[in-house]
Symmetry: C3
Subunit: 142 residues, 3 copies
């Protein structure tokens, strides 16, 4: 399959703050479900009390899960919203930094406990991004 | 307090370059003050001559400051503009990479001396993001 | 030279997926050339089979090239499109994370082989971002 691009229309813009102690991924997904945001670009400036993230083993086609109980700054975040099994799904990758600045990173999992989470969501309309099984990677992709 | 989200309207879009030798945070904040940008999403592609960044100690509720005189690529950047004490305030986190690719990261402080700083600013209007003291975290949040 | 900012108009929005095995930088640039996207902000959520990235030696004014054959998550990505030698040029920096979450990062080079690459492109119109030689840094800047 070759690369595919679609033109979208700019939709609504949301800005918000995930409450201290809440689950970063679940909270963003719940808001998107509530407001029927089906495709979006998402960014977060924040810090976590607990981090849960994964690495996809491309040979084994399975995720390896990592986590950290250290308090971290979110020193990077890239994310998008698309539909998976009928619900808005947040696909986000992030980098986490420590007291001395050391970083780890990966694919964000549910279970990231927020300290501060300042979120921007830019909706895209006019496209249908539906995750379905992709044989080549073993992932759910559009 | 539970998570809160607001719908914003897309405002102006700015693109620019912070001059070599200038202070990354101060320069973006000064531009936002000059153009009355009170809420925005900010991104930077660039490199630094000197890096100043912090880690928030969630237990002590105080910042630990780090810095580096090594020249760094900015290998990640997430940021937003909101109002603090009546002026536009840049809240940004970043990751810095070295000659061999090693990374450190954290909360950007004034004092980051720019080598190259290519900036995109997307204003949001119709929302009032005012930082006020938050008891739970000890930070200034909206 | 002091910092310079320009106001742009929001242009088209594109979302897409770079095919598995393709070159991340070349594929985004080829799409921008095809659709005449001359200025844009670009974000990617994805993973790579091979990573090629660089560090700019500010004293020597030359790039040091790094690469990794390890499979990586893209744990951060910031990028923009402007014109260089008459063609759309992707300037992007990224952070790459390993199986245990360890990160490296830098200036993205052609040669990054995609595993998954979910791309958002926000065009900016009404500005002409043309890269020309900059004496101070030795780079091609606008």
């Amino acid at each position: 399959m070759s690369s595919r691009f679609w033109e979208a229309s700019p939709g609504r813009t949301f800005v918000g703050r995930v409450s201290t102690g809440a689950d970063l991924v679940q909270e963003i997904e719940a808001f998107c479900a509530e407001r029927d945001i089906r495709a979006a670009w998402v960014s977060v400036v924040g810090a976590l009390q607990h981090s849960a993230f994964a690495y996809y083993d491309q040979a084994a086609k399975s995720y390896v899960e990592n986590s950290s109980d250290e308090h971290h700054e979110l020193s990077a975040f890239v994310g998008n919203i698309s539909m998976r099994e009928g619900r808005p799904f947040l696909h986000a990758h992030a980098t986490f930094s420590s007291r001395v600045g050391e970083t780890v990173g990966g694919h964000l999992l549910p279970g990231c406990k927020v300290w501060v989470g300042e979120v921007t969501i830019r909706e895209m309309t006019g496209v249908e991004l539906e995750r379905t099984p992709d044989e080549v990677t073993g992932l759910a992709l559009w």
